[in-house]
Amino acid sequence: MARRTSLSRAAPATLIAWLAALLVAFPLLWALVTSFKPELDAIQLPPRLRGVDWTLDNYREVLADGAYYRCALNSVLIAGGATLAALMLALPAAWAMAFAPTRRTRGLLLWMLSTKMLPPVGLLVPVYLICRDLNLLDTRAAVIAMLCVGNLPIAIWMLYAHLREVPAAIVEAARMDGARLLDEIVQVLLPLILPGIASTFLLNFTLAWNESFWSLNLTSTQAAPLTAFIAGFSAPQGLFWAKLSAASMLSIAPVLVIGWFCQRQLVQGLTFGAVK
């Protein structure tokens, strides 16, 4: 970091950075403000900030039937479960690709990534039929399985990138000491790539949280997450700007808060092997 950059040079940059950041976050901040307005005020232009009857009614109405809490819990369980499962599957694969590479490794990785490029709607009917026959409709297990496999390629890629950054000398030193493979992995490698695991988890958790196709189409009530919750507010009758804002705020709040607290870990790990 350029500590010695003079303050006079840094000041304008700081100011512009803040302006840019506020601009990026503005749509959310605006929705936050709108969510506390009565509906008739919410669509008034020019927008008013003074003389508004600030209210919590929108939140009260959105929370009224208790569906929110169940959906939020489902979102946490589904996104968390899918991400954990993906990590468990991804770690050994990433290890194999990084430390026992073959000629096919790159092709394999690209094939895995290409499975993600396929629009899920093309698979809906087969998957729906399979889930019906296995009695998995409206279960968290079905959504977890779909999202786990959906994010698996990304998880493998990120972990692979982190494992490749581990200096060879450290691994060799461990081998010289006669460490067994398992010890090598658990005691030497895991601690080294912990930041990478953390950021892989966070990124995939976010992606799973925001996934709205499988989570909407394979669930009805028991397993419905927040993406299904918000679909009930997207275009209701009557004025809906403020209620929509409140529902939106509620549906992103949990992951937003998690993201804020973990942003340092997330940023540190987003190297994808691009940093030496």
């Binding site: 008034q44 009224a64 019906r132 409709l137 968290r140 009530t221 997207s234 275009a235 009758q237 809906f240």
Partner: protein
């Protein structure tokens, strides 16, 4: 790790807890309109009276709900015990035996009290297959203050010529008022509802007796020309993104001088809590072109029971309660009479308390009565439905044509090009549908 596993296990077990034998849990899929949201809120009255029935609600936006329910019913997934569908689906699904008949809802249901047009729209071969939650026709809402100021008088039965003249005269973008709001968002239930209803009044039809699409006829050219002219010269900017709800928001915020749309809008635009023009709104019939048909339409949201359910008895008792004659009283007691679900029962319109609270009652009843799902057009047609054709191909076809018409409004195509494209794609889809 262990704790997470415990939590996951507990969650998995709790999702199987429907094992209590005495309790029947019904999964009810509904659209997120206000009548259904109210029903959901009031349903504790039902579960209190039936302690052995529990209700699980799935509330979704209309398009998402439709795809979700159709996928499930068509694949016999068995996810839902009670579903909300429209008058479009009922004849098609009934024919495929996907729905249970509703003729045995009990004497207290009083099926003969249902409005004839609505009951007819939800029946197939004389059997009722869905119980209506609400019903709607189309009519013209207008701003009495703006009309008075411009010295215009809205006739009880306006013509499209008058509407066009008035809309252009009242169009005042500089002051944030637009001449006319119409649905513009592409979709068979959005802009196509408006445009097909309009086309009926201009003597057009969707198909002739041999199922040949009719978008290449002069009647359709006139329909789309009038629609595009109104949209471009007297409509609000952003119209191609406006469906019913967006238009409602505009009108309620005082941005439209005239609004031609569904009668279900009336309770919102006359309620001072949700509308700034509550005391400045008048109602007139759907416009016509002097050919004996107005641009009326007919739609109803109704509760139906998929044939795949194993809980038919409980489901029927819920449907009978939710759409029965006493339900309106329950709503009135909590939210006032104006909020009673409109357009389903004759008794509601005979109720003086309702007529007093709902200034729009007469206009709504007339609009619904004016529609005939079996004879919607000037010339004969092979299909059932006023602003749609109740055939499986229509939702795909209607939405694709709706996109092309929104292109004409946006100016990416001319009226002729849009009609050409509509004719070509409908012919292609109809040919593909019958290729077996």
């Amino acid at each position: 790790m262990k704790r997470i596993a415990t939590i996951l296990l507990a969650a998995a077990l709790s999702s199987c807890s429907g094992g209590n034998r005495d309790v029947t849990t019904l999964t009810v899929a509904t659209v997120n309109n206000s009548d259904m949201v109210r029903l959901k809120g009031l349903s504790s009255a039902f579960t209190k009276a039936h302690p052995n029935i529990r209700l699980n609600w799935v509330t979704l936006e209309e398009n998402v709900l439709r795809q979700r329910v159709t996928t499930d019913v068509a694949t016999r997934g068995g996810q839902f015990d009670v579903i909300t569908i429209g008058s479009y689906e009922v004849p098609i699904w009934a024919q495929r035996r996907w729905l249970l008949g509703m003729d045995d809802l009990g004497p207290s249901y009083r099926a003969d009290d249902l409005l004839p047009a609505i009951r007819d729209a939800l029946s197939a071969k004389g059997v009722l297959y869905a119980a209506p939650i609400n019903g709607e026709g189309s009519f013209t809402m207008y701003r009495t203050d703006l009309f008075a100021k411009a010295k215009l008088v809205m006739p009880q039965h306006p013509s499209w010529d008058f509407i066009a003249t008035a809309a252009k005269k009242l169009n005042d973008p500089a002051h944030g008022v637009y001449g006319i709001c119409l649905r513009g968002k592409a979709g068979w239930g959005e802009n196509m509802a408006t445009i097909v209803a309009m086309s009926n009044s201009f003597g057009a039809r969707l198909f002739d007796e041999h199922w040949r699409p009719q978008f290449d006829t002069p009647e359709w050219k006139r329909t789309l020309s009038v629609y595009v002219d109104l949209a471009r010269n007297a409509g609000p900017p952003g119209m191609i993104a406006n469906g019913f709800n967006e238009s409602l928001a505009l009108y309620a915020a005082g941005k439209c001088a005239i609004w031609f749309d569904s009668t279900v809008a009336a309770p919102f635009v006359t309620d001072p809590k949700t509308s700034v023009v509550a005391d400045k709104t008048g109602f007139a019939a759907a416009p016509d072109a002097g050919l004996g048909r107005t641009a009326n339409w007919l739609w109803t949201w109704a509760l139906a029971i998929p044939a795949s359910t194993t809980k038919a008895k409980a489901a029927k008792s819920f449907v009978a309660w939710a759409t029965g004659p006493d339900y309106a009283k329950l709503v009135a007691g909590r939210f006032g009479w104006a909020a009673a679900p409109p357009g389903t029962r004759t008794s509601l319109y005979a109720n003086p308390a309702y007529r007093k609270a709902a200034p729009f009652a007469e206009a709504t009843l007339e609009a619904i009565g004016a529609a005939d799902t079996h004879h919607p057009t000037v010339k004969p047609v092979p299909y059932v439905g006023v602003q749609y054709a109740a055939i499986p191909e229509f939702q795909g076809l209607g939405t694709e044509v709706g996109q092309q018409f929104s292109g004409a409004v946006a100016g990416t195509m001319t009226v002729d090009q849009a009609l050409d494209a509509a004719q070509t794609s409908s012919k292609r889809q109809m040919a593909a549908a019958s290729r077996q």
